[in-house]
Symmetry: C2
Subunit: 437 residues, 2 copies
């Protein structure tokens, strides 16, 4: 029989244990934080009717869709994000769900885009959203979620950049540039990349702003000082604009609440130059940067949007939420040495040392597991050296070594595999000792 | 703009919180047990080259495959199980993985089959396997994993049915029926459904066995007594067959080890009539039944196979593993009242009672979360009654109610929402008290 070459499709990848273990841990951490705020898990199908996926997508996402005709002649596609499925889900079930509805969704999405460094055609998204309330307390809570997420993952140095789209919209209304919002935003979004002068030029060109108007808009991007200083300058700049003033009030409410629960200003920075791309967001927006790797880009982004479900129903439902960039974060954590390279989820290894004493090894393992300690028993009575080499390769922390003589005396040798140190331990004391290590 | 009807494809479904919460819990329990034995998480792409998926599949699975041509003109398909991807994964990475390789894989698979009651076109599999060892200690360990899984999920009454394919193969060799193994197995597998006489008839007809031969085979299915009695009868029946004797020895080794670690015979029953369908398995096999719902079918099944990777390489790799039937188990747990219907992952609810005191509510919530207690703060300062109705609907266990007066005194009312009882608690004592409840 001809052999088939075992291979994965271009843009797709296998997750081996050393990659999957930290990935799983990150996903579990995110789920734990989301749940600690009352966000419920949900899931939706990977396949949806094509019309649902293409209904609101851009030409860009339409081109990237994995689509086909199924056995029943239906036009279907693989989801390319979790936002369109959320909109469909909420529209379909809102009477059963009620509002406010808080959900998180950690799931795979597919995009047949050109594969570049670090871009895959299959990846996971990790979103949380609160649907059905305009109250700023949801904006506050979501900010706290992002902060807790970053801390729970293990970061000390990070900054959540906070803005509100109503600030800019209010200013543009005041300047009679409201109908130019999209080109102005597009230009402003590039300030970190291309600088003040080029953004100014782009605004005059594509948004037909006068230089005076463009400069007033760009004032926003050049405000100086701490959060309080900037808030005060914004209040002056936007005086008379109802929308702008309301945006500043939301920002103040979020910053005040963050201070009240003890979040340091180093972690939450008002930054009126972030715009998060196009015209989806309508209020609060966030981007989150690692202090040690600012060039990595935002690792947690999102914001408030007015009308999630417009494609499906006339009942307008607002929402607010953000998405943790799992792959980007894992790449950053690897660069920062936060990923161990361990290939086993269990810390303890028991060599199958004496062929006749398997039951003893199984009993020791069962006792450790009952104490919540993961343990692997080697499945073959090979030479001890070979078994310990296996343990080293996998990255176990400890080996529990016992031959007939030790077992008869009720003891074992507990070996610390990274330090290569060893101590004699009574078997009955082993679970309690390992828990403290 | 025309509205699009929000709907899911036939055979696909959304998971709402009350369904997803127990589902997630079950998946986490399985992952925890697998990891406690040193099984590592892995993942593989949902999409594979079609030739990989069709290489070993039956006509049945081929017909059910979701397949299409991708943007690059490749013939691709959605995985229909986790075994074919495991074979591909192991063949591709074995030098890096080394043996023994122990992995678990909990992931979605797709089959475009006819939808019947309880059958979906998208479902999750939950497999664990040990690759690369013929040693019976892997068979022993896998049996312990199944036992621990069932206990960890919360079952007291269940029976793991244990058999070994070498017992029947040995007997068939002895009876010169070895070339009829597949039809004999097919017939024997139906004994619980169609009874002794019909199986006897089918064996004579489709396997061309004589009645004497068929009756000897059926002796296997009618052995009586406890595990030890049956082992002794098997030893006599198979005397002279090397293969059969080796199968009985494996069974004895597993049963002895299970007894040694304290597993009651009520939970592990030698049952030589189970065959697990076709000719994939070659040694140990298991099926697991709930004591209170035997008619549900097996909720955890699997066995030992000789050659996982034959489709891809000439290097033969044996494996042993089993699969937890998540959907069947959840259906069973629902029937048994083991599923609560709760729609929130957080036990504590804080009504937004006094509009001016949001910061206080946020601080209480933060303190509870720091103690590991999930808590949701209602996002709008609505009437208390409305908020408590929301809390009831969601199924929160406790509400922490505090107005200005209580907050100023440093206290709150802790309300048990199911008992409708209430007590006054000092805010500083709240985390410690809730942990004990």
């Amino acid at each position: 029989m001809n052999k088939i070459t075992p291979r994965t499709l271009k843009g797709f990848r296998d997750y081996l244990p050393e990659t999957m273990i930290p990935r799983r841990k990150l996903i579990e951490t995110a789920a734990r934080v989301y749940q600690s705020y009352g966000f419920s898990p949900i899931d939706t199908p990977a396949l949806e009717y094509l019309e649902i996926l293409t209904g609101k997508g851009s030409d860009e996402t339409d081109k990237q869709l994995y689509r086909f005709t199924d056995h029943g002649g239906r036009e279907v596609g693989l989801r390319f994000d979790l936002t369109v499925p959320l909109a469909r889900f909420v529209s379909q079930h809102i009477n059963e769900l009620g509002t406010p509805f808080k959900r998180f969704h950690i799931a795979t999405v597919w995009r047949g885009e050109n594969t570049q460094a670090g871009r895959y055609r299959e990846f996971m998204q990790c979103d949380f959203d609160t649907i059905g309330t305009w109250n700023v307390s949801a904006d506050i809570e979501s900010t706290l979620v992002i902060y807790d997420l970053m801390r729970a993952i293990g970061f000390e140095r990070f900054t959540i950049h906070l803005n509100n789209r109503k600030v800019l919209s209010g200013l543009l209304e005041k300047l009679d540039l409201a109908d130019k919002t999209v080109p102005v935003l597009r230009a402003l979004d590039k300030i970190a990349k291309i600088g003040y002068d080029k953004v100014l030029a782009e605004m005059c060109e594509t948004a037909q702003a006068t230089e005076t108007q463009a400069k007033e808009v760009l004032q926003l991007a050049t405000l100086q000082g701490n959060n309080d200083d900037i808030l005060r300058q914004l209040e002056t700049l936007l005086a008379g604009s109802e929308k702008g003033t309301s945006g500043v009030a939301d920002l103040r409410a979020i910053l005040n609440a963050a201070t009240a629960v003890g979040i340091d200003e180093a972690h939450l920075k008002l930054n009126v130059s972030i715009a998060r791309g196009l015209d989806y967001y309508t209020g609060t927006i966030w981007e989150t940067f690692l202090g040690d790797l600012p060039g990595l880009g935002s690792v947690c982004s999102g914001g408030r949007y007015d009308n999630l479900t417009g494609m499906f129903t006339n009942q307008p439902l607002p929402g607010i939420g953000a998405s943790l960039g799992l792959d980007r974060l894992l790449a950053g954590m690897e660069q920062l040495g936060m990923i161990s390279g361990i290939r086993t989820p269990a810390p303890v290894f028991i060599p199958y040392f004496d062929k006749e004493r398997l039951h003893d090894y199984l009993k020791i393992a069962a006792q450790l597991r009952a104490a919540g300690i993961g343990v692997e028993v080697y499945p073959e009575a090979k030479k001890l050296g070979q078994q310990l080499k296996y343990a080293d390769r996998k990255g176990f922390a400890y080996a529990v070594i016992a031959g007939s003589e030790e077992l008869d005396r009720g003891i074992c040798q507990l070996k610390n595999l990274s330090e290569q140190s060893q101590q004699e331990v009574l078997l009955e004391d082993l679970p309690a000792l390992l828990i403290t290590l």
